[in-house]
């Protein structure tokens, strides 16, 4: 009985160890127990690419590097394991990029914009230009350093040796002087302003408030009188308007006088007759005045 129990316990322990060992190894090596599919890419330079490194599609991890093989033609054939829930858009580009600053690498798949079709499982993704290598970065840095050196030389010849530095110093000196003068002016103005303010305060203090009040009352009375005058003028204007209207309408004497041309003609005739009568009277007064005293 005990022997049987020993055998069962030993068997279970060994089975557990084998399951844990094999299951764990497969789980880590395959990137989980979920199924996926393989995609391929060929790169001219791997920059330390290893299996297990991330495969990103538009920045999202969709799988991992499964195998890296050096092909006799000098290129790297990389097998990528892509999780089954992701698809790679047609025309995407794969590049080997740096992951962080300590030499870790990843494969970045950049999809083309506007593409709605997908690559089939097992297709080869076109390789793009990866991140620059150290040598390229050093070359770039070297050219930048050369430019800076040239710029520094130019600066020295133009600015230091050409007297620009002395001019700048003189300008700074002048500016300092100007600032001192402006400070003096500002101080004077400040002083004058203070005096003006004091005078104004004094003037305001000397104003008699009773006089101001009576002036205000007088002004109010004058304003009321003006208002009355305005009303009176208004009524006068209305009356005058009525008279003018009546005159213009013509029923009265003045209206007829002013509007009836026949009246004018008769007056004109009358005046002519008066005129001839006056002439006649002047010539023959005795005709009209027959004065006898006795």
């Amino acid at each position: 009985m005990k022997k049987r129990r020993d055998e069962v316990l030993v068997g279970l322990t060994l089975l557990f160890a084998v399951v844990v060992g094999l299951g764990g190894t497969i789980w880590v090596a395959r990137g989980g127990l979920s199924s996926g599919y393989s995609m391929y890419a060929r790169f001219p330079w791997g920059a330390g690419l290893k299996n297990g490194q991330a495969v990103l599609l538009a920045g999202v991890q969709v799988g991992f590097v499964d195998k890296v093989e050096l092909v006799p033609d000098g290129t790297l054939a990389v097998t990528m394991h892509v999780n089954k829930e992701y698809q790679i858009p047609a025309g995407s580009m794969a590049t080997v990029d740096a992951n962080g600053i300590f030499g870790d690498q990843l494969i970045a798949i950049t999809p083309q914009k506007g593409v709605t079709t997908y690559m089939a499982a097992g297709d080869t993704i076109k390789a793009g230009k990866g991140s620059p290598r150290t040598g390229e970065l050093l070359t770039k840095g070297d050219s930048i350093a050369t430019d800076i050196r040239a710029l520094t030389g130019k600066f020295r010849s133009e600015y230091v040796e050409g007297g620009g530095l002395a001019d700048t110093r003189q300008t700074i000196k002048d500016l300092t002087k100007l600032m001192a003068q402006m400070s003096t002016v500002v101080a004077d103005q400040n002083k004058q302003l203070t005096i003006t303010q004091q005078a104004l305060r004094r003037t305001i203090a000397s104003v008699d408030s009773a006089k101001v009040d009576s002036t205000v009352v007088n002004l109010r009375t004058a304003s009321a009188n003006l208002e009355k005058l305005s009303r009176s003028l208004d009524s006068t204007r209305t009356a005058v308007n009525d008279v003018i209207t009546k005159v213009n309408s013509g029923p009265g004497t003045v209206g007829r006088f002013m509007n009836d041309p026949a009246v004018y003609a008769r007056i004109d005739t009358l005046l002519l007759r008066l005129d001839s009568l006056t002439i006649d009277f002047t010539k023959n007064p005795r005709k009209f005045i027959n004065l006898k005293i006795f």
Binding site: G24, T25, K50, G52
Partner: protein, 259 residues
């Protein structure tokens, strides 16, 4: 005088190596008697393997947790956090898992092995076995050797998994490392050979523990004191042997580890 002493010392060393070689030869011969060692092997597998499982898992859990925690806080700003998963896996699977489990089990099973066989030697039970035409090596040593060779890799496998699980739990619960970071590092540059490498170490350490400890018990002399001395010596020799084997295995197989 010095020459004489050197000769004596060399003769002693050669004698020790020769005795162990004979012992190994006797073990190889004992394989021919499966009826003697087979039933005892299962019992030893239970004693050595099943009963050591809780201790191995506790050691592994703390080993994984501490390794991961220390690794996280050794990283300076800017290093991607997935590195923690990578370092934890490499440390545990390639080195600390097999080594620490072997050292811990040297104390537990190696000492017990020496004490058991040594006590049988000083109480003349081994002589009695020989009198009864039992091969004492087939009955005492071979089952222990086989049990250790089988169970130590199994314990190491379980301990590795426990340590990695513990590392993940500690990192996710107590640090800013997330599961994705850890898994990403765990999978980085992983090859199946790394697990095989861990098993190679476990098998070689198991063999060292069984051979050294059973031999020291087998040659025990001078009563209870001798048993104590043999036990202490066995643990020391087995521990040093494990460290030496660790270096040898690393030197031989390290070039194949990298992905």
């Amino acid at each position: 005088m010095i020459l004489r002493r050197a000769q004596d010392r060399t003769a002693k060393i050669m004698g020790a190596i020769g005795r162990r070689a004979y012992y190994a030869r006797d073990i190889a011969r004992a394989v021919r008697e499966p009826g003697t060692w087979m039933p005892e092997t299962i019992r030893q597998m239970r004693t050595i393997g099943v009963e050591s499982l809780p201790l191995s898992m506790i050691v592994a859990a703390f080993l994984g947790g501490v390794t991961a925690f220390q690794t996280r806080y050794q990283l300076f700003p800017g290093v991607q956090l997935s590195v923690v998963g990578l370092i934890a896996r490499q440390s545990i699977v390639l080195e600390l898992g097999p080594l620490l489990i072997a050292l811990v089990l040297t104390g537990r099973i190696g000492a017990r092995m020496t004490a058991e066989i040594g006590t049988m030697r000083v109480t003349e039970q081994i002589d009695a076995l020989e009198t009864l035409s039992f091969d004492p090596i087939a009955y005492l040593t071979l089952p222990r050797l086989l049990a250790t060779l089988v169970m130590l890799p199994a314990l190491t496998m379980i301990a590795n998994a426990t340590a990695i699980f513990s590392a993940w739990a500690v990192l996710v619960l107590a640090t800013d490392v997330r599961t994705d970071d850890f898994l990403s590092g765990l999978r980085l540059a992983f090859t199946e050979f790394q697990v095989v490498y861990s098993m190679i170490k476990a098998v070689s350490f198991g063999g060292a523990i069984a051979l050294v400890c059973s031999y020291e018990g087998y040659v025990t002399e001078a009563g209870a004191e001798g048993v104590g001395r043999s036990t202490a010596l066995a643990v020391v020799i087995a521990s040093v042997s494990i460290l030496v084997l660790d270096a040898i295995v690393a030197a031989i197989f390290a070039p194949f580890i990298q992905a």
